[in-house]
């Protein structure tokens, strides 16, 4: 269960418009009829990538050939709100994203993403807007998230980003999937269980 630390994520980035992008938008519920996460990548943002009536591709940035190889998603405020479905970050990861930079994140989405090793960092509206503009102007621009320094760099642009200490520590130490440590505390788990009358 040893996993590699994540200290930095680099790649080109795609800016997507809108605030409060919910997990139904990221992965519509009808694509959750599955017993594995394997095939979810192709359905990420499906209903905004394809015109629901004609089935044709829309002008969504994810359909823009210039962003085809983007591995970092740049978004607005409260990204990932709504349903707790892990299918949302799973679909983003399987689509090919390695990190999300946004103004802010909804809590459950954020936790699910961290556990998968998909770092989510936030920054001010001004910084996000500047990054979006820079990526739109030059889709080949290399964007780099440094989790040690907690900065994002893209060409001449460098700004500070935030992430709760625990998530940062977990990613940097390669312990973002906590299962091993949870299991290792078995004695303490059993002691807690014994102290709870309704569990007994």
């Amino acid at each position: 269960m040893a996993i590699a630390p994540i200290t930095q994520v680099s790649g080109t980035a795609v800016p997507i418009p809108g605030a409060d992008i919910d997990t139904d938008r990221i992965i519509p519920a009808r694509f959750m009829k599955c017993v594995t996460f394997d095939g979810l990548g192709e359905f990420a943002f499906y209903d905004v990538r394809f015109n629901p009536e004609t089935g044709e591709k829309t002008d969504h940035p994810l359909n823009d050939e210039r962003f085809k190889n983007a591995s970092i998603l740049v978004a607005g405020i409260n990204f990932g709100c709504g349903s707790s479905r892990e299918h949302a970050p799973q679909s983003l990861a399987k689509y090919g994203f390695n990190a999300v930079i946004a103004e802010s994140f909804a809590e459950i989405f954020y936790g699910n993403s961290t556990t998968l090793g998909l770092p989510c960092v936030s920054s001010s509206k001004e910084n996000i807007e500047a990054l979006k503009a820079a990526c739109a102007a030059d889709p080949t621009l290399e964007v780099s998230i440094d989790l040690e320094k907690m900065t994002v760099t893209a060409g001449d642009l460098t700004f500070p980003v935030e992430m709760p200490d625990s998530a940062r520590h977990a990613l940097l130490s390669g312990r973002y999937d906590p299962i091993k440590e949870l299991i290792d505390n078995n004695d303490k788990i059993e002691a807690t269980a014994a102290s709870l009358s309704y569990v007994g």
């Binding site: 605030a19 599955c34 459950i108 130490s173």
Partner: protein, 479 residues
């Protein structure tokens, strides 16, 4: 009995009682006393468990049912092979790992957040997790209950614990008596409108005040259910005599001497009178009107007498949000919400699919008919709810009024079963989310409201004030 120093919230007490330790990344390893699972977010977790070669550590503390994909007509006939696979998977997983499963034949199946309380599995002072964001519903009993992702479902199955960060606590006091025609749903929509869809990020919400104290358990569940719609991962109400009366005699409730001990212990978890909160919000119940949404986020709420916002009167981010929402909703800016035609009316979901919801609507719809061209469905939250409604003849009242009376499931709240909007149909819905595409059509439109307001919209054929449709005097003296 636990000996607590004074000045703690229920959240703090439950957190302390369930803390296993501190993990190396600084998070708390929290014991999850009760784990609820359903067919959508659990199969991958069992797959991970098998990959790791691990058993379920406390199989007696996980309870399963199916709700999301269950058809509400011919419940036992999955709509397609994928749905059938998911039902097969949960049955096999529960069999293989020794987990209690309330299946369709049990007579106890239903929406997981209706089943838990109904069975007495949901208890005060406990921690409850489920791979579903509406798990906060169980907070109505004074439990700390929250939604988790599938990898965390694996963690709970394998260790009965998860890694978690502690939340701050915001006390939301609602005081006074709701006016006639105003319901718990309006309270929760009003709170979300006031504090925003992201206002609760980082918080647990403690719902308190005289209004909540007088609420039934089902009303409290409606309020707690939508905590996540306000950004708060969990919401709760302190346990009291109403809570204990509800739980007494339920299948999983303690009995005999154990009941008395349990009530004493449950009471001890309630927030202390001098508990400190990170924030306090106070709301006057009489200020709350029947509330409906006009947009694509649950915080896009207005009272039934108000007009749809006009982006021309705002600037910046707010303007962009309104424009995006109205472009999707195809609603005219600046005009009254009352009178907007609807195509579908849905009463059900983990927010408003309980016995009291159907009883309340039934009181008013007798003698009324669903308008021509409106498809109206009533979906009980559980098989037990359905049976009780049918015993009371409520199904007949709904059917005579022109509603289809269905079998239990999540149904058109998220439309993973055959109950879906078609094209850009607009639905008056007692559910919890009005996100783009939420009700099964990528262009479908949702207007959230209380069950009685849904009934009024169904009867009128357009969004309407239930107090006018059903002759409820809003200024009547309140009992």
């Amino acid at each position: 009995m636990r000996d607590y120093a004074m000045g703690k919230t229920l959240y703090q007490k439950v957190w302390d009682a369930h803390t296993v330790g501190t993990l190396s990344d600084g998070r708390t390893q929290l014991f999850i006393g009760t784990h609820l699972i359903h067919e959508v977010t659990s199969p991958q977790a069992f797959g991970m468990l098998r990959d790791l070669g691990l058993p379920v550590k406390y199989p007696s503390r996980t309870f399963a049912t199916i709700d999301h994909i269950v058809p509400t007509v011919n419940q036992d006939q999955p709509a397609d092979p994928l749905a059938a696979d998911m039902i097969d998977a949960i049955r096999k997983n529960c069999d293989d790992f020794g987990v209690t499963y309330f299946d369709l034949k049990s007579g106890k199946q239903g929406i997981v957040h209706v089943v838990g309380p109904e069975q007495g599995i949901t208890q005060p002072g406990s921690t409850i997790a489920c791979g579903d964001s509406h798990t906060a519903t169980h907070g109505a009993f004074g439990a700390i209950a929250f939604g988790i992702g599938t990898t965390q479902v694996r963690d709970v199955l394998a260790t009965q614990t998860i890694a978690m960060e502690k939340l701050k606590v915001r006390r939301i006091e609602v005081n006074g008596t709701l006016r006639p025609g105003v319901y718990a749903k309006d309270v929760t929509l009003h709170i979300i409108r006031l504090l925003g869809a992201k206002g609760g990020i980082g918080y647990a919400y403690e719902y308190a005040g005289s209004t909540l104290a007088h609420f039934s358990m089902e009303e409290r569940m409606t309020v707690c259910n939508m905590a996540i719609e306000g950004g708060a991962r969990c919401g709760y109400v302190n346990p009291d005599q109403t809570t204990f009366d509800f739980l007494k005699g339920r299948p999983y409730s303690p009995t005999g001497d154990a009941w008395d001990t349990a009530v004493e212990e449950w009471s001890s978890f309630a927030s202390d009178a001098d508990a400190e909160f990170d924030d306090i919000v106070i709301i006057n119940a009489e200020d709350i009107e029947p509330t409906v949404t006009w947009g694509i986020s649950p915080d896009h709420g207005i009272s039934i007498g108000e007009s749809i916002p006009d982006p021309a009167t705002t600037e910046g981010d707010e303007k962009a949000v309104i424009e995006e929402a109205l472009a999707y909703m195809k609603l005219p800016a600046g005009t009254p919400i009352k009178g907007i035609p609807i195509d579908v009316a849905f009463i059900g979901s983990c927010t408003n699919g309980r016995l009291s919801d159907f009883r309340e609507v039934a009181k008013f719809i007798q003698g009324h008919k669903v308008a021509d061209g409106v498809k109206a469905i009533a979906v009980p939250g559980s098989q037990i709810t359905a049976i009780q409604c049918e015993k009371e003849g409520l199904d007949k009242i709904f059917e005579e009024a022109g509603f289809e009376w269905r079998a239990a499931g999540c149904s058109m709240c998220l439309a993973m079963n055959p109950d879906k909007l078609i094209g850009d149909q607009i639905c008056a819905s007692s559910s919890n989310r009005n996100f783009k595409g939420r009700q099964g059509s990528p262009t479908g439109r949702t207007v959230l409201m209380s069950p009685l307001m849904v009934a009024a919209a169904a009867v009128a054929g357009h969004i309407a004030d239930a107090r006018e449709i059903f002759d409820v005097n809003p200024d009547a003296a309140v009992a």
